[in-house]
Point group: C2
Chain length 236, copies 2
């Protein structure tokens, strides 16, 4: 019996950063290079953001489409994660390792955590390659320091904007998309709009940087990949 037939592949969650392919780490490039199969979460969607970041590394590789429905229906999402785990485990069973390309960092609001839980739960080896988050990349574009000294940083999705309020912390709202108008109204009500800045599609060809969130034109709808940073002007 061929011993290599027994060795199972490893699932790598490879963080590919928010948009600019130059923000891939050396480790991400190496791991993708070493894996014969690359799983891309949004290959079937209109955006293909993760795919566009790793495209130049895919020559000669098999690409698995791991798109998931953007649904609030938990059962439907769970079913979709199960199916993706099935596809990935079939590859691992054949002894091939899989690099799952995930936007930003794999530990911050990434579908990868749901996939990893399932694959690890079935006894396969998994590993995460950390990456650059969209909020660090957006802060860099804006020239804002997220936290200094003893300042606290709070990160939350735009959908949580109405929730807890931490006036003394720097706050980052991710993936605000359709909630941006609501978020802007909330910030204005709290007298914080002048402290807010935004980057949409950070590092992508469609990138837009707004040092003043108040001046962003939201009438045409805003990108799902919008990051809003609220930090007191005097403390930047």
């Amino acid at each position: 019996m061929d011993p290599s037939a027994c060795a199972k592949g490893v699932l790598y969650g490879v963080s590919v950063g928010p948009g600019d392919p130059e923000l891939l780490t050396l480790k991400a490039v190496r791991v993708i290079g070493e894996c014969p199969v690359v799983a891309v979460p949004d290959i079937g969607s209109g955006r293909q953001t993760a795919y566009s970041i790793v495209r130049s590394l895919l020559e000669g590789k098999r690409v698995i489409d791991c798109s998931t429905p953007m649904s609030r229906d938990r059962a439907r999402a769970a079913e979709s994660y199960d199916r993706i785990a099935d596809d990935i485990c079939a590859v691992l069973d054949a002894g091939e390792s899989v690099a799952y390309a995930t936007l930003g960092d794999a530990s911050v609001y990434s579908t990868f955590s749901y996939i990893r839980d399932r694959v690890a739960g079935r006894g396969y080896a998994t590993e995460v390659v950390p990456g650059v988050t969209s909020f660090c990349a957006s802060a860099a574009k804006l020239g804002v320091s997220l936290c200094d000294g003893a300042e606290r940083l709070v990160v939350e999705p735009g959908t949580a904007a109405g929730g807890g309020f931490s006036p003394d912390a720097t706050r980052v709202y991710l993936k605000s998309g359709s909630r941006l108008e609501k978020l802007r109204a909330d910030l204005a009500e709290r007298g914080e709009l002048d402290d807010a800045s935004m980057v949409s599609d950070c590092g992508l060809p469609t990138e837009a940087v707004f040092p003043r969130f108040a001046e962003a034109d939201l009438s045409q709808g805003a990108s799902y990949f919008s990051t809003v940073i609220v930090k007191r002007r005097g403390r930047r």
Copy 2:
């Protein structure tokens, strides 16, 4: 007159990640490669962490020592930042660009923000290259997802451990160092110790991973570069 004598250099804040040189981004490697001068914050200290990360990229470059005192005396710190800004501006005036190597990400508790404020305030061009934070790298090592769904993430320095308390958020305490015993006692008092994990010196040869913070031996003193993550076990 030689026109190149008029062109001033650019100050780049190059995030070099928490420890493993493989977590440098492609952009960090390129920018360091293009700058004739590299500023390293801790070259004179015992740790030389940033220096060790970029060491292989320094051949043929001039290295400026930018160590700062670990002091709570604000006047002394400000004086030290002024001196570093002077050194950097002298290089920029000569038309040479400077890559300031900063641990983790330049926007998260980095001395670079103080240096940049001074250099930008004097009218020089500055740019930040974002990088991998220690908390993303630590989460990857631990196999913990920092936030899923609508969960909030709170990042703060270990010195703030006694401050605000966000029981529903995932919390990250950075650079806890000498405060680890106090932090552990606080978490135990709140019944959260079982939810806490820790990584010290993530990505360095001295790295230590503690899936259970409760089991870390703190009797020998702990590294300044310790990251504690508190996330409810049921939600990992």
